[in-house]
Subunit: 720 residues, 2 copies
């Protein structure tokens, strides 16, 4: 790629961004689009355009984003989102501080060097303008390399400093959120797992109550034994489905009445598979019938579930945050494989099916999943290759004879043959985050946010190892392994010598990512189109409409690994090719602006983990920093710099820094420090009810019944 085509590509991306931004300005002003551009505000009962009626300029949203405080973000989108902004801010800070020194120092030093010919290229020899500004241009053994040594130290120190502050800041954010007087049910509850078999004549509930009442006589409130709700959930969902269908049908019927036909046409449907086959019936009657049929079944199933499907875990409630926080940290039983207690996740994000897993199952699952992830990362090319081989055209024709006419056309055939392997790769990469999330659930993780964190961590290692190192070294991780296995010391020089050659690839990658990616994010063109289509053709009831514009959260599971990959790339190139830094600054800066807008107006987080994401992000920034330091060490070695050893203290410093940070801050993200738990006693009934699964609690006005049923039922159960 030469300099002109690079500029063209950059310009095109920028133009797309401007177009999308203007589109956003225009579309977001329309009343009908408010639910797409301001769902957050609408759900909170605020006026979407509050206080900004007069403004007409297209950059008003930028001013709003910049002027908004962290507190606004916490209020509108929660602590997790605010923590994500701390990450973006830290990334921008590191890169800006680095560029302030590196750009004025390194670019002249490199450009004014007599230079080397050929071997030191940063762009496979096609991009001379950039080559001259990179470390590759400096001659071997040159004293000028000292400037690059200094730069490496500077980047590291800046990173330590800002990370330390960020960690402290996030810790404060978390503390403030946990200390807030708002009653959050999960702060008064703990999850108990591995409950042993109850003694003869005692129900599980009595057993749990007795155990905890003995230890916490003053603050124990009550317990909720977890049941296997698979069956009852199925019936409940079926019923909910019919209720929705009924509401939809009634809305359609009402519409048809108003349209000049006073009788209206009663909607009909078929009872068979997917509503496509079977007898044609009146939908409203059919739904009523079905619901009436399901209500007694649901009630019967609820009783059966409460009586016979109790499992070896429970949720225990306390009247004090302090006791709950303390109980989650304490060893309750001598044997760790019984009565294990941990913090309760938010009710909305509990993964109920993982609760009854016992101690050994959890351990084994974890290691099996780690092993599968390891295989996935290292041998990811194998299934793709297999699928590609399987989906050659001749094979496809055999399997699906009806595509034969298509294959016979020569042009189509060529295109298909060229793209089928790529298609397999694209599908694999698109499905990967979902697969990793599924694996994390299988691991036995209890809360959605934790599972997303785990999946995101796995995805980060996949992308750094396969995309970054894969593109750099060239070829798959597996083939690299084979080289490295023969001589383990080769990995650092190998990476260091291949890195400069791929600078332009990553430059365009980053530029594309921020202009087009963030442009789409801001303009919300895709959700807007989907919303309008749904509104027009599908949604009839209010509830359906609301579902259609439900905006969701930031999607940390894929967003953070993507950001971390960019940060890793920019950090690793920061000294070798400092021109990379401004691109990184734009990526994270633009991201900050656009997402701030989204956080204030669009995002509706589906869970809150009070910044538990941070230690995870922090660890990966440290991993990126150490990778950078090792790469630099290798690259100085490649440059035959005599004092390369002067860089050795850096990775050691990083490890010490990481260790101190972990020691000092991490515990608080794992457990709730008692000093932040306050004392007031909330409405415990409300706390308790928030943990009841809807399928078990929905229709019952009096709650004692639930409790009594559970208690009596399980006594009968244990007597059987």
């Amino acid at each position: 790629m030469d300099f002109n085509s690079f500029l063209t590509s950059l310009g095109t991306s920028f133009a797309i961004f401007v177009v999308l931004m203007l589109l956003f300005t225009w579309l977001s002003r329309k009343q009908g689009n408010a639910v797409v551009y301001y769902p957050n505000r609408i759900l909170k009962g605020m006026d979407p355009w509050e206080g900004r009626s007069g403004e007409r300029n297209p950059v008003a949203w930028i001013q709003e984003a910049i002027n908004s405080s962290e507190k606004d973000v916490v209020t509108m989108s929660g602590v997790d989102t605010a923590v994500y902004f701390v990450f973006l801010g830290t990334a921008v800070g590191i890169l800006v501080l680095a560029s302030l020194v590196l750009l004025p120092l390194l670019l002249p030093v490199a450009a004014s060097d007599p230079g080397v010919n050929g071997s030191g290229t940063t762009s496979s020899g096609t991009f001379n303008e950039l080559d001259k500004l990179a470390m590759g241009h400096v001659q071997e053994r040159s004293q000028r390399l000292w400037a690059f040594v200094f730069a490496t130290y500077w980047v590291s120190i800046v990173t330590y400093y800002l990370l330390w502050n960020a960690y402290k800041h996030v810790s404060d954010l978390r503390a403030a959120a946990l200390m807030a007087p708002v009653v959050r049910p999960e702060q008064f509850a703990v999850v108990v797992r591995d409950i042993p078999t109850p003694p003869q004549g005692q129900t599980r509930k009595e057993q749990v109550d007795k155990f905890f009442r003995e230890i916490y006589p003053d603050t124990f409130y009550r317990s909720l034994v977890v049941t296997n709700n698979k069956q009852v959930n199925k019936i409940w969902q079926e019923m909910e489905g019919y209720k929705k269908k009924l509401a939809h049908a009634e809305a359609v019927y009402g519409e048809s009445k108003t349209e000049g036909n006073p009788e209206g046409t009663r909607p009909t449907c078929r009872t068979g598979f997917l509503g496509l086959v079977g007898d044609k019936v009146d939908t409203i009657d059919h739904c009523h019938e079905k619901i009436n049929e399901l209500i007694p079944r649901l009630e019967a199933q609820q009783k059966v579930t409460l009586r016979e499907k109790q499992q070896s875990s429970a949720i225990v409630f306390f009247t004090s945050r302090l006791t709950a926080a303390s109980a989650a940290q304490n060893l309750h039983s001598r044997m760790v494989d019984t009565w294990s207690v941990m913090d309760a996740p938010e009710p909305r994000q509990i993964i109920w099916s993982n609760l009854p897993n016992n101690f050994y199952q959890r351990q084994i699952r974890q290691y099996v999943v780690y092993f599968i992830v390891f295989l996935t990362i290292v041998f990811y090319m194998i299934p793709i290759g297999f699928v590609s081989a399987f989906t050659t055209l001749s094979n496809l024709v055999k399997l699906l004879p009806f595509i034969k006419p298509i294959v016979k056309q020569n042009v189509l055939r060529t295109v298909l043959e060229a793209y089928l392997p790529q298609l397999a790769l694209i599908i694999f990469l698109a499905l990967l985050p979902k697969f990793l999330f599924f694996l994390s659930i299988t691991e036995g993780i209890l809360s959605e946010s934790h599972a997303i964190r785990a999946a995101s961590g796995k995805y980060f290692y996949f992308s750094v190892l396969n995309v970054f190192i894969g593109v750099t070294v060239g070829g798959t991780l597996f083939s690299t392994f084979k080289i490295v296995e023969k001589d383990p010391n080769i990995i650092v020089p190998l990476l260091a010598s291949s890195l400069p050659g791929n600078a332009t690839f990553f430059l365009t990658y980053v530029a594309l990512k921020f202009f087009v990616g963030y442009g789409l994010e801001l303009s919300r063109v895709v959700p807007l189109i989907i919303y309008h289509l749904k509104r027009k053709y599908l949604c009839k009831t209010e509830a359906e409409l609301k579902e259609a514009w439900a905006p969701g959260d930031l999607g940390y599971g894929t967003r953070i690994p993507a950001d971390m990959l960019i940060l890793t790339i920019v950090l690793c190139y920061s000294v070798i090719a400092p021109v990379m830094i401004p691109f990184g600054v734009i990526y994270f800066g633009l991201g900050w602006l656009v997402l701030r807008n989204q956080a204030l107006k669009v995002l509706v987080p589906s869970y809150e983990s009070y910044g538990k994401f941070w230690p995870h992000i922090y660890t990966r920034i440290m991993a990126a920093l150490i990778l950078f330091q090792l790469t630099m060490f290798g690259y100085f070695g490649v440059k035959n710099f005599y004092y390369t050893a002067i860089l050795l203290p850096l990775p050691i410093c990083s490890l010490i820094f990481a260790y101190i940070c972990k020691q000092k801050f991490y515990q608080f993200f794992h457990h709730t420090a008692l000093e932040v738990a306050s004392h007031e006693i909330p409405n415990m009934e409300h706390v308790y009810r928030s943990f009841l699964p809807p399928s078990l609690a929905s229709e019952k006005p009096d709650d004692d019944q639930f409790d009594d049923a559970l208690s009596q039922a399980s006594r009968t159960g244990s007597a059987v």
Copy 2:
């Protein structure tokens, strides 16, 4: 060593043991020796010969030892001693169960083999009787090796099974002790470290009280701020010294009066260095004078200490065991480096000087100590070599000219020259446990029992690496390292091929150890002689006499590493030379008998850790087992056995077993499980006072004064 001389050596050792045992029977019956042979019973106020008056046979003590129950041991010597017997019992159990299969199986298999010539010797070719019974006698690639494979599996399985039971049993012992209704002050207290600087206008005590009263409003009792007692301890000890001296002088004076001289001779002493120089004064008057002089100084120093020497740690008391147990496990502050809370050790074993170390200091100290220990283990020959070189005779003559006449004698000269280097080694090895204990204290460990555990762990690695591997491979660990460094895969075959050659060395080592060692232990000849000498010439007062027969505890710091070394040796040889097993059985069986006698009658433990020693022992047994498995793997390789790989699952199983045991049991040895902490409220005043350092509390009848002084004083202090 041929078979006859081996038998002779064994016979001699046995004879010594019999003589010592008879000596014990004879000496222990004498009334005057009761305090040496029954100090434990006497201190507990029991009759030494209770219920055994008629018995006269020399093995009565064996019957008593066998008939005693674990409960007796716990009552007489505490849980730690009982746990040590669980270890001895487990070791005997493993070896007996192993021998039941290995001896009848392997000895015939090996003896009936046609055999190999030369290379397979177990005793450097001098001990044919043993050679024929060892695995080395079996031909290479022989199918008979399958029996040895089976034996290896059998030993491993037996070890897993008995270790699992032992761990469970020890856990029960610990739980029972912790649940006992006896009030143990340390169960109601926690140690708080890293207390931040108190805010302006608040004393440290107020700060601590406020912090804990807020979190534990119902169960907080009071706090005790730790002060730097160096100065006050010095004065107090000086005063105690004079008090003892006074009592001694008065006893001497009293004696002299009764001996016909009605006036008596008042004892005198010199006031200078060690009582050797200076003016001669009347001791009684001198001591009275000194004590009167010291009392006001002590009181003044107490005030100064309480006012100005407060440190950043405290002991906090609760009115409930449960709260104390829970508090020790909880994270109290968001930052781990402030308000760190842990279980309080027993008052008598607190290492006060380590309390104020702050978080980072503790971390750094720990790593520095680990590094020093590593150096000590690997390069232990260097200081010895250095000392040896320094203490050659010619050097000594230069330094100490007065030994010249001795050196001139030829015989003496030869002996000295031969023994001086060995002497350096012996002194080094004798000082090593003390040095390791000192290092463990320097680490910042809070309790004596923990420091002894840490020292014992370090000593175990030293003895296994240097004695066992050193003797086996031949040469120091350092020289072995140099070989291994060149080819890391050589370590297992190297160990495996050298091991059989040293079987006889270890056989005689074990035999000497048990017959002579335990004989001396049982007969207590050395303490008896020392006691009678002291009684005759030194001790005049009751207190002095009591000090003279103070028996102490088992000395875990050196005993357990020695036992573990024997167990490691026997396990590693169990399949290669099964004749080793009976020696191991005798070692641990005899040890069990002799020490049971000591536990019931002699031992007075100086601390109680409720079996915290066990996980430490357990880990080292597992290490020995894994070493055994690796050695066998290597030795089968040396034998060119085709199916050697069949042994590979064993070390993996061991790691999994160790992991499961740790997961299941270990937590309870680290923290107190809440289910074992009971609820009654004890006399808190007594609990509190037991933690007061004697130098600060001894003379004060009213305790409020202490508290007020502390509170007021520190307010003044903080205002300064």
